[in-house]
Amino acid sequence: MSETVIETEGLRKEFRTRKGRHIVAVQDLDLAVPAGGVHGFLGPNGSGKTTTIRMLLGLARASKGEMRLFGKPVPRHLPEVMNRIGAVVEQPKFVPTFSGRKNLSLLARSIGVPSAGVDAALDRVGLTGRDRERYKGYSLGMKQRLAIAATLLKDPDLLILDEPTNGLDPAGIRDIRDMIRHLGESGVTVLLSSHILAEVQQVCDSVSIIGNGRLLAAGKVDDLVGAHGAATMRVGVADPAAAADHLQANGYVVTRENGHLLVDGPGRADQITRILAAKELYVHELTPVRADLESVFLQLTKDATISAGAE
């Protein structure tokens, strides 16, 4: 059984706004991220992703619940595990009047990393040559790279990245994606919070999807997509109208699309062919419609919004 790197049980965060409004940002969240690989952490804006990350990293206090990193309860034992964790939370945050190198050097010295470590981190994110410029003159992409360089100073076992490709150009996005994939393959556990679902699907081995502060689904990307998408079949037949009538009569939900039928229902492909063949309607195309992560995400988060509204 593989080690669980991040665990939360019944995690809850509530706070009051300045106007006195009571807000529950995270409620009863049970999260488990196994060691190794890239784990996506998805949810719409305001769903509690960043708050969860901030609680895990000791930047915010949980109102209730338990959290463990590498099996150690946090925030009590955070100092013992923090040197194994690199993190970028929300936007990069550095001293604007210092150079990129100076910002990184101060962080490196605070954990005893020599200047060679700073050089290596800068080189890895492609900031060598621009490192002596002031941080406030950096583009958003350069700031993002510097933040990632800071996480690499520790040579981490766990990397928590909150929207790491924000502001990067396509080449930069590809570089960061490759780096994340490479880190995941090399045994580092990466928790990737992102809105770019296609990116998550390309890079992540597993995902957790949250909405309204609750866990909606978790598991391997293929399993989640398969579970939510396997039931729809695209059917090509000479007489779509007659075929639709017969399928509907057998309990299927049928929609027409460009001369084809999209068939949702409990049965498998062989049942559809049998029903239509019995009426001498012969199928010339039968393809399972694979859902992508985006459609799964939208379906889950829409359901969560509806149920939250009903509560």
Partner: protein, 324 residues
């Protein structure tokens, strides 16, 4: 220790802090230069200039008219029994009239520009303490730092130590150079300074260094509490100026003891006597003593307790509150 060195590095690398330290140095240089210039000995050139001025005065129409008027009625000018000769004696300009210049007396400087410099230095160090902490909150880099060292108390203490050490060392260097310049000048001019005065200057400068260091520390602690540079400056201003004015307006007897200025002066000058008009006097009580004498210890207690309250509140809340 490693974190303290990092914070000291951060302290000396901040451009705003460097500029304020430069301003403090220039201010001290200006104070020293003004003092040295104003007390410079009379030179031959000064005497020549004065004699030339005397000659110009003597040949002026105004002087001649006044002298003639005096000589025509000397008693009106110089009192009963005065003669015309007394007019020439009293009205004829002399070079020493233009050569009057005070001597460099270090004990006088200690009570004058010495105290002024310390108060200004402390004010600059307070701003430095505020901006040191305020920049971390304004840039959001505090959260980044805590991702590398999550023990918040340790981070708070390392930053506090860096602010105190930085401000105290800078103040010590500036005050040392200031007083050294004046001591050397006095020495060159052959003015001897007694051991008691030297000791008093050393003690006052030391208390000034502590005031600057702890002032910066207090401002840092308050900024860590309020998480805002401008907010902290506003609170400090309200406390030091508006707060004192409001308290003075209240119908409470003897509030002068609670004024920041009086306590700071008592600390710096090893005691301070001042008039407190808010002390209530009962009619017929045989006079009323409205002069208050505050001791160094009283000033130190007031300032120390204020600093301790702010520092403890700042540290406790920094450990508990969420970091933006």
């Amino acid at each position: 220790m490693r974190l303290l060195l990092v914070e000291l590095n951060r302290f000396r690398s901040r451009r705003a802090i460097a500029l304020m330290l430069l301003a403090a140095m220039l201010l001290a240089a200006l104070f020293a230069f003004t003092t040295i210039w104003d007390t410079r000995p009379v030179s031959a050139a000064d005497v020549a200039r004065a004699e030339a001025q005397v000659e110009r005065d003597k040949s002026s129409r105004w002087f001649k008219q006044e002298l003639a008027r005096c000589e025509s009625n000397p008693e009106e000018y110089n009192g009963d029994g005065a003669t015309a000769a007394d007019c020439a004696e009293s009205m004829t300009p002399r070079p020493e009239w233009y050569l009057e210049r005070r001597q460099l007396v270090l004990d006088e400087v200690r009570h004058g520009s010495g105290i002024g410099l310390v108060v200004l230095l402390a004010g600059i160090m307070v701003i430095i303490g505020t901006t040191f902490a305020g920049a971390d909150w304004a840039s959001g880099s505090m959260s980044n730092q805590l991702l590398f060292e999550p023990r918040r108390a340790k981070v708070w203490l390392a930053k506090a130590a860096a602010v105190f050490v930085g401000a105290a060392v800078a103040s010590a260097v500036i005050l040392t150079v200031f007083w050294a310049a004046l001591f050397v000048t006095a020495e060159v001019r052959g003015i001897s300074t007694g051991a008691t005065v030297q000791e008093a200057i050393r003690a006052e400068a030391f208390r000034g260094v502590l005031l600057a260091g702890f002032g910066a520390l207090g401002a840092y602690a308050l900024t860590m509490l309020l998480r805002h540079t401008v907010g902290t400056v506003a609170v400090l201003f309200a406390y030091a100026i508006a707060g004192t004015a409001v308290i003075a307006a209240l119908p409470i007897s003897g509030v002068g003891r609670w004024s920041v200025g009086n306590n700071v002066t008592a600390w710096l000058q090893d005691g301070y006597e001042f008039y407190d008009g808010t002390i209530a006097c009962s009619p017929g009580a045989g006079g009323c003593e409205q002069m208050v004498k505050m001791t160094l210890e009283q000033g130190a207690t007031y300032l120390g307790v204020t600093l301790a309250v702010v520092a403890v509140a700042s540290l406790l809340l920094f450990r508990r509150r969420d970091i933006p």
